[in-house]
Every structure is written in C-alpha cells, then in structure tokens.
C-alpha cells in the first residue's frame, strides 16, 4: 500500500516531442542576432553577455538539471576562469586562446580538487560547502591587491586578435567578429555538453539524479560520477568566465561572488533546468531584464526576483520547459 502510493505520487515530467525543433530555433536566433538586435535597440555586446552567461548556466545545469546536485558556488569557477584569462593576457602573453586555456585550467582544476573533498556531502550540506569555497575564492581575489587589483578588479589587458595562420581575425575592435568568435566557442562547448549527455556516462548522471540507490545497485559508483560531473561542470563554467574577461577586458571579484552564483541558479531554473537549452533562455531573459530595468531603477534585482517567483509559481518547468511541453504535448 505505502509502496504504491509512493510511486504513483512521483511527479512525472512529459518529454518534449521535438527537441530538434528547439535546437534549430536556438541556432537560427543566435546566428542572426547581430543583424536584428540593433533594430530593437539592443547592442551586440548584450548578445555576447547572453552567450557567456548562457554557457555558464548551461554548464552549471549539467550538475543541477542532469545530475541532480545543487551548487551555490559556481561563480567561483566562473571568476577563476576570468582571472586566469585576464592574468595570462596581462602578465604572460597576448594570446586569446592561451588565455582561455589558462582560465579553463585554473577554474577546472580548482573544481576538480575541491570536488574531491565534497562529493560525499549531499543536498544542503553540499550546497553550503560550495558557497563557502566560493567566498574563499572571492576574498582571495579581493585581498590580493598586488596581483588581482583587489576591489577595483583586474584591468590593463585586452583580448588579442585571433591568428589563424592564413589570416587574422580582428576580434578586438570589430564587435560582430567578436560575437561570432564567442558563438563558435559557445557552439563547440554546447556540442560537447550535448554529446556528453547523450553518452553512457551522461546516462549514469541522469540515473543518479533520478534515484541514487537504484544507480548504486546497478553498479554505478555514485561519488566518482558526481565528482566527474562537478569537475566537467566547473571547467565549462570557467571557460564561460574566461570569455567574460575577454568580453569586458576586465575581471573583478564580483565575478566570484555568491550573488553571481545565485544569478546562475536563477537563469537555469527560470529557463528550465530539465531542458538542454533552458538555461540559455533563462540567461537571455535575465540579461535583457537586467539591461532594461537597470537603466530605469537601481532596484532592478527586485523586479527580476518578482519575475523569477512568478515563473517558478506558474511555469515550474521553466519557460522553455513550458513552451516545449505546449508545442509537443505528450
């Protein structure tokens, strides 16, 4: 009796009928943004922000939406990616690819090592220690004035043109070229995430999200797989962070702060954490709202918060989850 009520009470999410349709629409929009965004009063750097924060939210969502593990400290890896890229450009070499690599390594390795310590924690304990690590990273960046520029942030570096051998792409002054450069990196990163989720390893993560006990009794070592998921998630988040430093030619401690971690969570949940592109949709909404409302009032976050509450109340699967569901039915 108790068994049957428990199982039937489990909420069941209908699957989207045509996931490829969403993917096609997403790419159509992303590829054409620089041509129509200015007509709507936007600017290309705004679309760049959407890509960068969208990639961060999608990377974070590998953990939340597809492994079922909550991190409240993903800004740490985003910020480390940004500092890794910025410090490389400022002190080591004027190479954009090497700066990105350094950012990914710094954030990814920090996540890998830290993940090793915390994979045995679950639920709110896991979330709390991720916050704690984020704040440690924040205060290091904040206090280490001579290296990081402290509170004022790291300045005095610019992204370098991309040298392809036969030609050089000017991503420094040409906004459109830089947007498409970001889009290429975004495409590679999200393709890798998509392949990962469709792989046997990706399915072990879904298994852990759905039912840890059953996964363990199918022979899946839970801790090892959560650790791998966390490490991969952190590395991709760090990649997004390194792009953020390139976008702004600037890295600051707020990029490590827990408030950004919270914003990443909001983007993923608002867009739809069970949908692959959901966090990107959430990031787009967040960035546009932030840009639009913050020009009217400094209290923009309270409006974003209100919209977040409304979305969670009325579309618990997030905006994209709701749209896909309506479009496809069962």
């Amino acid at each position: 009796m108790s068994a049957s009520t428990l199982v039937t009470a489990t909420a069941v999410t209908p699957r989207p009928a045509r996931p490829w349709l969403t993917t096609a629409i997403v790419w159509l929009v992303l590829l054409t943004v620089p041509f129509w965004l200015p007509m709507l009063g936007g600017y290309t750097a705004l679309a760049g922000r959407v890509l960068v924060l969208g990639l961060a939210a999608m990377s974070f969502n590998l953990l939340l939406g597809f492994t079922g593990v909550m991190s409240f400290g993903h800004a740490a890896y985003f910020g480390l990616g940004a500092y890794g890229a910025g410090l490389t450009l400022k002190y080591l070499t004027a190479s954009t690819p090497l700066a990105m690599l350094a950012g990914v390594l710094l954030g990814g390795l920090a996540g890998t090592l830290f993940g090793l310590l915390i994979v045995r924690r679950r639920g709110v304990y896991f979330a709390m220690v991720t916050v704690a690590f984020g704040q440690i990273a924040f205060y290091i960046a904040y206090s280490w004035d001579s290296l990081t520029g402290g509170y004022d942030g790291l300045r005095g570096f610019t992204r370098a043109p991309i040298n392809l051998g036969f030609t050089t792409i000017d991503i420094v002054n040409n906004d459109k070229a830089f947007y498409y450069f970001l889009l290429v990196i975004f495409a590679i990163a999200t393709s890798l995430l998509g392949l990962l989720l469709a792989s046997p390893f990706g399915r072990t993560l879904l298994a852990i999200r759905e039912n840890e006990r059953r996964a363990r009794f199918l022979g899946i070592p839970i801790e090892r797989h959560i650790w791998l998921s966390f490490s991969i998630s952190c590395a991709f988040t760090a990649l997004a962070g390194s792009l953020y430093a390139l976008l702004n030619n600037f890295a600051d401690p707020m990029g490590l702060h827990y408030s950004l971690s919270g914003e990443i969570v909001i983007m993923a949940v608002m867009g739809g954490m069970r949908a692959f592109w959901g966090p990107l949709v959430g990031a787009a909404l967040f960035v546009v709202l932030q840009d639009y409302i913050s020009s009217e009032t400094v209290n923009w976050m309270s409006f974003v918060g209100l919209i977040f509450v409304l979305v969670v109340l009325f579309f618990p699967r997030g905006l994209l989850g709701m749209l896909q569901n309506r479009g496809g039915g069962r």
Partner: protein, 249 residues
C-alpha cells in the same frame, strides 16, 4: 558448492539487536524464501547480504569469496543484484532508458563519454531481450513512473537482470499488489527460476507465493533463525505454526 554462505551474522543498531547469529546457505539454482513476522529482521538480513551495510559480527561469503565488507558496487560487479520493497526505478525516464542504464553499466560502459560506439548494437540487443523477457515491450517508450505498480516492479526486476546476476535478491516482490499483479510477478519469478536457473533469495509476505515457488524456506523471528526447511517441513513445523503462521492473517 554454495552460492551464498551467510555465517552467524549479527547486526546491532545501538542497543537493539536486529539480527542475531543467523546463518544460511543457498545452493546454485536454488530459490530460497525468507519469511517471518514484521520486525523479524528480514530486511536487515537482506541489507547485509546486498552490502547496504556491514554486519556487526559474522561473515558473508558469495561464490567462494568473503564479501562481508565490500561496497555495493563491487558486489554488483561480482554478480549480485537486488530489488527493493519500495520499487526503486528512474521514474522520469522511459522503460527503455531505465533498462539501457543497467545494460550499459553491466557492459562496463559507465565511463564512455561519447554516444554510440562499437558496443551500441550489443547494448540495443540486450535491451530488447530484457524488454521481451519482462513483457514490457509494448510500454518501452513510456515513462516508467507512469506505469502500473506491477509493471514498475517488472521493470525493476528487468533492470536487475540486465546485470546478469548469479544471485538475485528480491525484497517483497509482490508488496502492495493486487491479485492479478501478484500472479504476474510470481509467474515472472517462476520463469526466472525454472527456465533460466537463476539463484534467487526473496523476502515475501504472500504465503501462496512462498509455498508455490520456494525450494527452501528460512523463517526468522525476533532477529533469530527459527526454522529452515522445504515448504512441506515448514508447514508442518509446530514451532513455526505457533510463532508465526498461527498468528498471521
């Protein structure tokens, strides 16, 4: 030759002794039922065998190897699989995906980070086999959380079987089921035992199921071994009748 040899296991939770000095030997191909009143320690006993937790004292030998302190995942690799009293499945994935996860784990693909690959055909074949065996082919693409309780249980057993276990542990496979579903699951277990020669240990409350299926029965009461024997011997045992069968139902 024994498949499972449980030697004098005891489990204490603080001052409570849930299982006390219980031994059990299961031969290859045997179907053993464990029965006993509520609180007899059946599930605790099961949890020690499957590696959910280690016994306080005593040893568990599986297929000639001491597994007393081995973690679950290693026991699974050695060929032990179990189902739970409350069905443990992946509710928001389809039946096919549920089974696929088991098959891929059994084939050692847990760390393959890309889709497809040279094992894909073998994986799909194994999935179809499991679907046919459990009778779930018509529901293969439905979410397993949407199925009836009996079908969910069949899916759970099918997932356990993807591991090609040499020992199958079933904790109350017909719990919470109606007449018809109980019959279907009992039939599935009978097929596994008679046709495929699986070694099975199960805990069960439904006495018709127990006395129809089991080769031997182990009776626990208050954490102790009360009796052991064939269904006929257990039915005639006055101690069992007094302590258990007489009181129940």
């Amino acid at each position: 030759m024994t498949m499972l040899d449980v030697r004098n296991v005891t489990k204490q939770f603080g001052s409570l002794t849930a299982v006390s000095e219980v031994s059990m030997q299961v031969a290859p191909g045997e179907l053993r039922a464990i029965i006993g009143p509520n609180g007899a320690g059946k599930t605790t006993f099961f949890n020690m065998i499957s590696g959910f937790f280690a016994p306080t004292r005593g040893d568990i030998v599986f297929d000639g190897q001491v597994v007393t302190k081995l973690p679950v995942t290693q026991r699974v690799t050695m060929g032990m699989a179990r189902t739970f009293q409350i069905t443990e499945i992946f509710p928001e994935l389809s039946v096919r995906e549920n089974i696929r996860i088991g098959v891929e784990s059994a084939q050692g693909l847990r760390l393959q980070f890309w889709p497809g690959g040279r094992h894909a055909a073998a994986v799909n074949r194994a999935i179809d086999e499991a679907l046919t065996m459990s009778g779930l082919t018509p529901q293969a693409d439905r979410l397993v959380g949407e199925l009836s309780h009996g079908d969910q249980r069949a899916a759970e057993i099918a997932m356990a079987l993807t591991l090609k276990p040499r020992l199958l542990l079933l904790d109350e496979p017909t719990a919470g089921m109606g007449e018809h579903e109980t019959y279907a699951v009992a039939n599935l277990i009978r097929r596994l035992h008679k046709n495929s020669a699986y070694t099975i240990v199960l805990i069960e409350h439904d006495m018709r199921v127990v006395f129809n299926l089991a080769d031997k029965i182990t009776v626990l009461a208050e954490g102790k071994l009360l009796a052991e024997g064939t269904p006929a011997e257990i039915a005639d045992n006055p101690v069992v009748q007094a302590a258990y069968l007489g009181k129940a139902e």
